[in-house]
Symmetry: C2
Subunit: 239 residues, 2 copies
DNA sequence: TCACATACTTACACTAAGTGCAAGTTTGCA
DNA sequence: TGCAAACTTGCACTTAGTGTAAGTATGTGA
C-alpha cells in the first residue's frame, strides 16, 4: 500500500524527506486521526456495523475529506497493515547485499515479532476475520508486499535474474509469512504475551526453514519441531 | 469460490447430483447467461465502463435478479476464474494418495495448460489487469484455492500433520502457480498458441522445481533453464 | 388436470459508497 | 500584507447492495 492511499488531496508533490512543513504535518495528523477513528469504531462496533460517515464524524472531518485520504473504508483500516508491512520491507532492504534472499526475508520477518509492531496487526487480524471486504484488503496488502519484495530482490540480484524465480520466490516467502501469522493467530488469538510472540517467531523460522528445505519431510509432530534444521536442510524424499 | 456465489435464491437444497430438474437447469442457464453477459461487456466496453444494470439488461434479467446470483459485479466475472481453479482442484484430488503434494500440485497445474481451460482465464487476466476491484477478486480466487488445497492435503496427509506445514506449503504452491501465470502473461499476453502454452507449461514446471529445490540457485539465465532438474534438486548454496 | 406449496423473479424503496464541482478556508511565500 | 496554491467542505449525482412484498413459474399429490 503505502502510496496507494494518497488521494486527490495529495496527488502531486511529495516533498521527499526534508522540511516537514506545516501542511505535511497537518495532513499526516488528519490521516492518522481518520485511521485511528476507523480502528476505534471497528473495536467498539465490530466490522460492518459502522459507516464512512461515522468515521469522518468521529475524526472530526467531513465525509468528503475522508475520501480525499482513503479510497474506501477498508483502505483506512488497511493502513494499519500497511504500516506493519512497510516496516518489514524496510528491514528487508537494510539487509546486506550478499545475504541470500531467504535469509534476508527471515531476518525481516523476525523484526515483526516484537510487540510494538505486531500488536496493531494482530488486533486488526482478530477484528477482521469475519468480514469479506476487510479480508480482501488484507490480501491486497500482502500482494503489495510481494511486489515490493520482487523489486527489492531484483535490484539486489541484478536484472539478469529470471522473473519467474523472483515472482515464485517472493510469493512463496510472503505465503510463508502469511501462513505463520495465520497459524499463530488461530492458536493464540490476540494474545501478545512474550510466550505467544515467541511462538510466532518460531513459526516464522519454521516456515522459512520449510521453504528453504523444499518442504521435504511431512513431519507428523507439532510445529515446534517441524523444521528442525533450517540451515542444514535434509534433501531426501523430496517430490 | 464455487459455492461462494450461490446466493439467496439458491441458499438451501443443492440436490446433490441426480435429477437436473427443470429448476436447476433454469438457474444454471440464468447464471451462466449473466456471467457471459458480464464477460461480453468487459470485452466490448473495457473494465469499469459498465454497470450491474447493464449486465442485467444484457442478460435479460432484472437488476435484483443479478444480485440474487452474484454478490457483486466482480463476482460475476470471477466465476470464470473459479471454474478454472475448480478444474485444477479436481485434478489435484484425483492424484494418487501416495504421491507427494508437490508432485500432485504440479500435475494438477499441468492440466491447466491446455487451451480449453486456460483460454477464458487468460482472457480474464488480460482484461482484468488494469482494474483494482477485479484484481482483488482474482486474489480472492487464489486464496480460496489455497484453502481448498490445505483441506485436500490435510485429508491426504492425515490430521497429525502440522498446520504450519500445510499452510506454508499450500500457499507456496499457489504462489508458484500464480507466478508462472503472471510471468507467462507478461511475456506472451493473451497468446494461446501451442508455443505459448508450452512456455506456460514450462514455467509451471520450473516454478514447482524451484520450490522443491528450496529456491537454491539464483540462476542468471532465462527461465527456460532456471530449474533444470526439478526431480534431482541441487542442494547447495541454500540459505 | 387441478390445486397448492415452494422456488424464483421482479418492482420499489431505501441506505451507503464513491466522485465531480465550485465555493470557502488555510498555508506558503514574496 | 497580499496573492497563489493546497486543502476542506457542502451539494448533487450515479451506482452498489439489500429488504420486502407481490407476482410468475415449477413440482407434487390427489
Amino acid at each position: 500500500m503505502t502510496e496507494t492511499s494518497s488521494q486527490e488531496a495529495t496527488a502531486e508533490s511529495p516533498p521527499e524527506q526534508s522540511t516537514p512543513s506545516r501542511r505535511e504535518l497537518n495532513k499526516a495528523a488528519t490521516r492518522s486521526s481518520i485511521a485511528s477513528a476507523a480502528l476505534d469504531l471497528l473495536r467498539s462496533n465490530g466490522s460492518g456495523n459502522f459507516t464512512v460517515e461515522d468515521i469522518a464524524a468521529s475524526a472530526g472531518v467531513s465525509r468528503r475529506t475522508f475520501f480525499n485520504y482513503f479510497p474506501s473504508l477498508e483502505a483506512a483500516l488497511a493502513s494499519v497493515a500497511d504500516g506493519f508491512m512497510d516496516h518489514a520491507l524496510e528491514q528487508f532492504r537494510l539487509r546486506p547485499e550478499e545475504e541470500s534472499i531467504l535469509e534476508s526475508a527471515q531476518a525481516a520477518l523476525m523484526a515483526l515479532a516484537d510487540p510494538m509492531s505486531v500488536a496493531p496487526m494482530a488486533e486488526l487480524f482478530s477484528l477482521t476475520q469475519d468480514n469479506r471486504q476487510l479480508a480482501r484488503s488484507e490480501l491486497e496488502a500482502w500482494e503489495h508486499c510481494t511486489e515490493q519484495i520482487i523489486d527489492a530482490a531484483r535490484s539486489r540480484l541484478g536484472t539478469g535474474i529470471s522473473e519467474l524465480y523472483l515472482h515464485a520466490l517472493a510469493g512463496s516467502v510472503i505465503s510463508c509469512g502469511k501462513a505463520a501469522m495465520t497459524v499463530w493467530f488461530t492458536e493464540h488469538g490476540p494474545d501478545l504475551s512474550p510466550k505467544s510472540l515467541a511462538a510466532l517467531r518460531q513459526h516464522l523460522i519454521d516456515a522459512m526453514g520449510l521453504l528453504g528445505a523444499g518442504f521435504a519431510p511431512p513431519s507428523h509432530t507439532s510445529s515446534q519441531t517441524a523444521a528442525a534444521s533450517p540451515s542444514v536442510p535434509t534433501t531426501k524424499d523430496r517430490f
